[in-house]
Amino acid sequence: MAQPLAFILDVPETPGDQGQEPSPYDESEVHHSFHQLIQEQSQWVAQEGLELQQREQEATGSGQQTLRRPEGTQSTATLRILASMPSRTIGRSRGAIISQYYSRTVQLRRRSSRPLLGNLVLSARPSLRLYDLELDPTAREEEEKQSLLVKELQSLAVAQRDHMLRGMPLSLAEKRSLREKSRTPTGKWRGQRGGGGVFSCCGRLRYACVLALHSLGLALLSGLQALTPWRYALKRIGGQFGSSVLSYFLFLKTLLAFNALLLLLLVAFIMGPQVAFPPTLPGPAPVCTGLELLTGAGCFTHTVMFYGHYSNATLNQPCGSPLDGSQCTPRVGGLPYNMPLAYLYTVGAGFFITCITLVYSMAHSFGESYRVGSTSGIHAITVFCSWDYKVTQKRASRLQQDNIRTRLKELLAEWQLRQSPRSVCGRLRQAAALGLAWLLCLGTALGCAVAVHVFSEFLIQSPEAAGQEAALLVLPLVVGLLNLGAPYLCRVLAALEPHDSPVLEVYVAICRNLILKLAILGTLCYHWLGLRVAVLQGQCWEDFVGQELYRFLVMDFVLMLLDTLFGELVWRIISEKKLKRRRKPEFDIARNVLELIYGQTLTWLGVLFSPLLPAVQIIKLLLVFYVKKTSLLANCQAPRRPWLASHMSTVFLTLLCFPAFLGAAVFLCYAVWQVKPSSTCGPFRTLDSMYEAGRVWVRYLEAAGPRVSWLPWVHRYLVENTFFVFLVSALLLAVIYLNIQVVRGQRRVICLLKEQISNEGEDKIFLINKLHSIYERKEREERSRVGTTEETAAPPALLTEERGD
């Protein structure tokens, strides 16, 4: 309560200024003092009371529009005061913007340089009211404010000033003139300030560094943007189909980056050294027939493509060459390139880096798309934020309008539904339908998994079929067909069940698809590591698994091409020619993205057994980009459903991280720690498990001498001891818990602030009502004795009394 009183004391008495009508462009008052407004207004009324009477009568009708609470009791004068309130002028006029940025600059300066207290009071609280005495307030005041702003800007560093100016919502010409004015006397100003120089110098330096880094980042970013391929393609897709479809292609780009990173590591540390020192091949290379491109077997088997080709020896490479930087550091000295170790640690490092990047981008994306307290306000957000300004085509624009209209209608219908909840019977029916659909979908997933399992058992038990190359393709084909067909079934089911919100529908569809794919992949993993390893005793089972994954990847691609061809092209032709429909098929973003995630999971699963699988995936993704783009532009239309692009990309990243990446990591960890590597091929052929390679190396180091004795120690206490793992996870949990608490605290603060704002709104309405009642009383008095102007001082006194209560 102390605050408003202080404001009242602050205001100087200004008897002038009555003649001016507060026009829409008169935004001088950046005070939050109603007192002054009321005072002014009452004086103004005293002079122009007669005119007001007429105006008021015609304006009472429109009052309802502006103010809800005091219905229909507004006068033009009140409206005018309302219009000139600071909260409203800031969105409109230049002077208000200038003063806002003036106070911001002052704040900034205070934070960065901390001038003396007296100095601060003078500069932070300019008495803008003084300028009201001028005869031509609008122009003069703006000038004065501008000069104040210029002064403030002059005290900033150049980079800081430019940064400030760039963010101001003023026109370029004004920014230029501001810059011009604030540039010249910089040196003089600095000299004047003198004493505060040390502080401000530090602050400036820091700010300049931050800005320099920022601009460097921006320059790099723009350079990268100029380099990125597909800029034009992406723009075109965005222009025709909006952000939703664009998010699919951006996700594809992200995947490409992940694969490129992984491939870089693998090529540098595994493939490169192996190619440089090729092992002697066991026999003559088999002749290629062309089918190998699909199966990965035959002449591909004994190449760098697969695990079996890599030697278990140490490659006699002198240390210090660029290829073995990570494994053979100078301090170890003279150690040769240990292939098993390089293999293990490179794959491990690749996974670790991918994990860090994934988690980081996921966290970033979560921070972007889920804000604290962002649960309400769906109507306002839809209306204010749903137009996509990127859209450049008339047709796409019309489609977007249709979508927004449907969305708004749905929202209203939903809202009305919530106002009048459904009957018990209706809810029961809905629950039954939902339950049935879920049961069917889960049943489908289970059925698919069982089918894959039975089929793979059958393949293992009939060895004569395994001899032929083409027979190898049967399992991938079956799995691919199941993967392709089951989602369509789920879609049919989804069309039958009732859903309250379209967003929920999308999530449910994604969830079902995901369960299906997880079930199939889980069965396959069991098939490979559980059954195949036992069957292929004496042979190179790692090669087989690597080839199998290669086949799955290729088959996935082929089926996707066919799906694009038949699902989109042929369907479009049929629906246009035969059914005479004008609608093209919709681009199903969720299904397509899940396909991408599935392919990426296959790649991660296979990295250990086939180090070049990321390269295959990169080629596949590049082809997919062009095929999908062409098909999209020719055959498809944007999805009808509303699509929260940033939420969805967060969900996709999460899916990529959580089931896909984590599943692959678990699979690989199991393979590294638990499964015995085959004894005829590969870098780990003499060991009991791949993990043994590390232990062997540590033992070797222990024997090598005391110089590196800390390495085995580190290994023993940090890697083998579980305590360290527990400690790290406990720390992580603590950090997460703290974060949750911080968010909860912020939420509470937001609630409090909102309450405060609505209280202020109440105050405002109260004051306006008061003001109005004063008018009315005045008016009555005016009617009884025309022309007298004596009691102007009364209303403010009355108001302060009320406040004191």
Binding site: S171, S397, G761
Partner: protein, 231 residues
């Protein structure tokens, strides 16, 4: 690229770079678009469709036919005014030319956008600098703050500094299409506007002011990515 770069003096270019969120290429590209708009129109007809929209940047660097042609025309155009490029930059381009740009053509808010960014007294034309301002606000790197400020001014149809019911209904009509059959019914519209005010008018004065608007916008992560025009 080098040619047009030398036309626009280095200092001016640097100043523009400092004061806007645009990169050098983008500024040079907008010189092409604003000062030689008829070239763009010609190209557009020649290419039958609006495929050229993203091209110029790419072509600035690899000098494909379009770029060299546009560039030559640009140079032919300039010599008379060459003595003071700055003066030619002050020339006002009428709205019709700006509105026919493919980037704005399909936008229901195009007239509002032009009005908001226009600094001419009659508010019916854009200077080159105004156009740069427009692009800067709609660029990738502009801050969410400035984006939401201008969004507010675009949606404030009567320029009175707040969004009242009238503004909101015009905004919704722009979003759904102006036609009789496409707009929402009166009761739907009333319900919608009531809901919007209920959600976002924190101080309950019946209108949405700038800070309330920015509060709503800050909760929508998609805004910054959709409030964007790629030249």
């Amino acid at each position: 690229m080098g040619g047009s770069g030398s036309r626009l003096s280095k200092e001016l270019l640097a100043e523009y770079q400092d004061l806007t969120f645009l990169t050098k290429q983008e500024i040079l590209l907008s010189v092409h678009v604003v000062l030689a708009p008829h070239l763009v129109d010609n190209e557009q007809q020649a290419r039958s469709g609006n495929e050229h929209t993203g091209k110029p940047i790419a072509e600035n660097t690899n000098s494909s036919p379009l770029s060299t042609r546009a560039h030559r025309r640009f140079c032919e155009l300039l010599p008379q005014e060459q003595r003071s490029v700055e003066e030619s930059l002050l020339a006002q381009v009428p709205f019709e030319q700006i509105l026919s740009l493919p980037e704005l053509k399909a936008n229901p808010f195009k007239e509002r956008i032009c009005r908001v960014f226009s600094t001419s007294p009659t508010r019916d034309s854009l200077s080159f600098e105004d156009f740069l301002d427009l692009l800067s606000v709609f660029s990738d790197t502009a801050t969410p703050d400035i984006k939401s400020h201008y969004a507010f001014r675009i949606f404030d149809f009567d320029d009175d500094g707040t969004l009242n019911r009238e503004d909101l209904s015009r905004l919704v009509n722009c979003l759904t299409g102006e036609g009789e059959d496409t707009r929402l019914s009166a009761s739907e519209m009333k319900q919608l506007i009531d809901n919007i005010l209920e959600e976002s008018d924190i101080d309950r004065d019946g209108t949405i002011n700038l800070s309330e608007f920015q509060h709503v916008i800050s909760r929508s992560p998609d805004f910054a990515s959709s409030f964007k025009i790629v030249l």
